[in-house]
């Protein structure tokens, strides 16, 4: 009987895999671990890309801003980059989180492709990324003036994403800011 039982092995492995796939259906890979929504941005103190000085959480406060996670190794970051330049020109403050990247390559990228960022946090080891729950680049976080994470978008920010998701939230938050 043993040889026959052995033939069931592929079936058993497949059923185990299917269980994961089923579980996967109810998980949204683009969703932020709920713990961070409406929670303050984690504290950090990391170098500014290409400079000696450090940047901290407090430097990002005071206005509604985007925090964009990017890297030169990231395929989709290159796709969204021109659009980030565009919204930065429209006056939206964007901070960069240069994630697990090489400083020199990142600096070259910015000089060549243009720099939409107010400042770039050089997260070489990915420690802030870990705290944020970044699971891949690009990701874009919407922070309010008090430094609370209000939204997280995983994937490319293009015209559609900006106009249908991020901009309405952004306008709502800035409207609150001027009202209060």
């Amino acid at each position: 009987m043993a040889p026959r039982l052995k033939l069931f092995l592929p079936l058993i492995l497949f059923v185990a895999m299917a269980a994961f796939l089923f579980r996967g259906l109810s998980l949204d890979p683009q969703a932020l671990p709920s713990a961070l929504i409406d929670q303050p941005l984690p504290e950090f103190s990391l170098p500014v890309l290409g400079q000696e000085q450090l940047i901290q959480r407090s430097d990002l406060l005071g206005e509604v801003a985007l925090l964009n996670v990017w890297a030169t190794w990231c395929v989709s970051c290159r796709v969204e980059h021109p659009y980030l330049l565009q919204i930065a020109q429209d006056g939206v403050p964007i901070y960069g989180l240069n994630y697990k990247d090489d400083d020199a390559a990142a600096a070259r990228w910015l000089t060549q492709l243009g720099d939409p960022y107010r400042a770039n946090i050089a997260d070489r080891e990915g420690s802030l990324g870990l705290d944020l729950g970044v699971y891949g680049a690009p990701e874009t976080y919407l922070l309010d003036a008090a430094g609370v994470v209000r939204y997280r978008h995983v994937g490319v920010v293009d015209e559609r994403v900006w106009q249908t998701i991020l901009q309405p939230l952004y306008l709502e938050l800035t409207g609150e800011g001027s009202g209060g």
Binding site: L7, F14, A18, G24, L27, P29, G114, V134
Partner: protein
């Protein structure tokens, strides 16, 4: 009205698929030859009605019928007609319809070209294909109706096709890829039919082999085109990213590669029967898994379709039925006794076993890397992404391990061979290969160890093949007579293995010797790269049918002679406002010159430019074309024609063999 006709034709196709799945299978069970004989007719009917449905959707796209939802979302009146047509499969619903069309195409092809098969086998095979058709057509009709209307509220114009997909490569990439994916359903159906009939023999392997080779060849071409497209369209010169969707197409290819080799051993020597059946099930299951991954939203990817959990659940249930069902059947019916045929360790059989182990490990590696983020997430282990470093670290050594055995393969004899014979046959190729490894990299300025290794391995493959060819030809009265005597399937193997060697050279040379300059350039500037002088002549504004673009005009010269004019563009598509980089490539057999525009810098016409020198990058795709060509060639082998006659003679064989 045309979309409603299309919808109706799809429903008729669905009903025919149900009949095809049920009636001939019942006939095969009850030995009712009238019921079994319905199978070919039903298969052709299925093709006709799914074909009508597909034609109706194409007409809706070509006529700019924006009252149809998918047309409004994926086309635009300014789109050139050829892209209106390819937009049919540039979206979830339409591509699924294409999938169903290709499935019915394969089903009808089996019905027509395998008419000489024993009726019992043919009825079972076609029934299995019909059952797969039921799954896909019900998926279309229940969750993804391509003919849904936007009434009232028809938009004046459509949203346009994603500019990334407005490209000649993308017109034929999905159809070829699906021909491959879906083609494995034939191998799968033959495997299931063999399990149902309880006869796993050499004739089963011989029947399914040509189909499997053709499907695999299509898949090879499809993957190659995808890689080529990424190279010139995405604008940064990469050609493989280990993206989940790429992996989804690569896994069936890897399993399929193991399958076509294992089928050879089953056909020629009656070996590895259960294993080959299992591989046939794997190859098609991985195709279905790919569909699930791309369309369910469980993984993020740059080219995933708009996703929907209801669709994901549907495919998962379908996957459970097809894969779970077939693996259960396998567990119950596969012969558990070790086959009586034996072979020694030094033989072609063990080399095929090596191939199978390497490709299976490669498949599992890619599968694991692709699913790892999902598994960790499901276990509550956090969010992960698995990138190229993992895949490269596992994949490169695996392929390097494969090639030494691959070089011996053609020379080796079935059943029993001797190390001494291998030594005498292959000593010269081995020495020459090592010499090639030392000398070939010297052609380039810097000596590179990886290129040396690739040269040794490719030369070893090439020389092993030539040695074997010589061995086969030398006893013939003349060279021409000797070459004529060689079978089509041998030529197919020869060309495909040659193509693999070319791929290895291309991949390694381009990864190692690639030169890339990113710099700021104004009109009039020049930059020298690997001896080529790139002169930025002028900047121009051009207007396309549905975009406006900045165009940088370059002259590339070598030794003062102009050898190429390149005009990369930065396009802005009017309907969506999306900005796309259109790289310009001066292609050559030994090097590609690649220019892509970055961003404008300042207002004086200066731009960030990306210049690449990519040696031998074409070899990779030419190699893939050779591989596919080789696999197509095998189908013309004489023995498949002879087989038809035999099949007619022995048609009643299994009916007597009985349940």
């Amino acid at each position: 009205m045309i979309p409603e006709f299309g919808h109706f034709a799809l429903i008729i196709g669905f009903v025919l698929a149900i009949i095809l799945a049920v009636v001939p299978a019942w006939g095969a069970w009850r030995r009712n030859s009238r019921a079994m004989a319905l199978a070919p007719g039903l298969s052709i009917g299925l093709l006709v009605f799914v074909g009508i449905s597909f034609a109706c959707l194409s007409i809706a796209f070509l006529q700019d019928d924006f009252s149809v939802q998918v047309v409004a979302a994926n086309s635009n009146s300014l789109l050139p007609p050829i892209y209106k047509f390819s937009a049919v499969w540039g979206n979830h619903e339409g591509s699924l319809l294409l999938w169903a069309l290709i499935l019915s195409l394969w089903t009808a092809a089996v019905a027509v070209f395998s008419a000489q098969l024993p009726l019992l086998v043919l009825a079972r095979v076609l029934s299995v294909m019909g059952a797969i058709g039921v799954g896909f057509l019900s998926f279309l009709l229940l969750t993804s109706n391509p003919f849904a209307r936007l009434l009232p509220g028809t938009p004046a114009d459509g949203n346009d096709l994603n500019p990334l997909l407005q490209d000649p490569g993308l017109i034929i990439h999905p159809p070829l890829l699906y021909m491959g994916y879906v083609g494995f359903s034939v191998a799968f159906a033959f495997a299931i039919a063999a399990l149902l009939g309880g006869r796993l023999d050499a004739s089963w392997a011989r029947w399914s082999r040509p189909w499997t080779n053709v499907a695999w060849a299509f898949l090879t071409l499809g993957i190659m085109l995808g890689s080529w497209w990424a190279y010139y369209e995405l604008g940064w010169g990469g050609w493989w990213f280990w993206d989940p969707v790429e992996n989804a197409s690569f896994m069936p290819w890897l399993a399929g590669t193991a399958l076509i080799h294992s089928l050879a051993a089953t056909e020629k020597r009656g070996l590895f029967k259960s294993w080959t059946v299992l591989l046939a099930i794997f190859a098609f299951s991985l195709s279905l898994l790919g569909t699930f991954l791309v369309r369910s939203g469980v993984l993020t990817s740059v080219h995933a379709f708009a996703t929907d959990p209801a669709r994901g659940l549907f495919i998962l249930v379908f996957l459970l039925l097809v894969v779970g069902g077939s693996l259960t059947l396998y567990a119950l019916r596969a012969p558990s006794v070790t086959s009586r045929v034996s072979f020694e360790w030094i033989s072609r059989e063990s080399l095929i076993l090596c191939n199978n182990v390497v490709f299976l490990v490669a498949t599992i590696t890619v599968l694991f890397g692709t699913l790892f983020p999902l598994i960790m997430d499901a276990l509550g282990g956090g969010k992960y992404s698995v990138g190229p470093p993992y895949f490269n670290a596992v994949f490169v050594p695996l392929m390097a391990l494969l090639i030494p055995f691959m070089g011996i393969g053609p020379v080796a004899r079935w059943k029993r061979d001797s190390v001494r014979r291998w030594q005498s046959e292959l000593a010269v190729p081995a020495i020459v290969a090592v010499l090639c490894g030392f000398t070939l990299p010297l052609l380039n300025a810097e000596y590179n160890l990886w290129v040396a290794l690739a040269s040794v391995l490719s030369a070893w493959l090439l020389l092993g093949l030539l040695r074997d060819l010589w061995y086969r030809v030398k006893s013939a009265p003349s060279l021409a007579a000797g070459l004529r005597r060689i079978s089509a399937s041998y030529w197919g193997m020869f060309v495909a293995h040659l193509g693999f060697a070319a791929c290895v050279i291309g991949v390694v040379a381009t990864s190692q010797y690639n030169i890339e300059h990113d710099l700021k350039m104004s009109p009039g500037d020049t930059e020298v790269l690997a001896g080529y002088e790139f002169r930025f002549v002028e900047l121009a504004q051009v207007r396309g049918p549905n975009f406006v673009a900045d165009e940088a005009r370059f002259e590339v010269s070598r030794d003062g002679e102009i050898i190429a004019r390149l005009a990369p563009q930065k396009r802005r598509y009017l309907a969506s406002g999306q900005v796309m980089t259109e790289a310009a490539i001066g292609a050559g057999l030994f090097r590609d010159l690649y220019v892509a525009m970055g961003e404008p810098i300042g207002s004086d016409g200066a731009w960030a430019m990306r210049l690449h020198y990519k040696p031998m990058v074409r070899w990779m795709w030419l190699g893939a074309i050779l591989i596919a060509f080789g696999a197509f060639t095998t189908v013309f082998d004489k023995r498949y024609r002879r087989l038809r006659k035999q099949a007619v003679a022995g048609a009643s064989g299994e009916a007597l063999h009985g349940a």
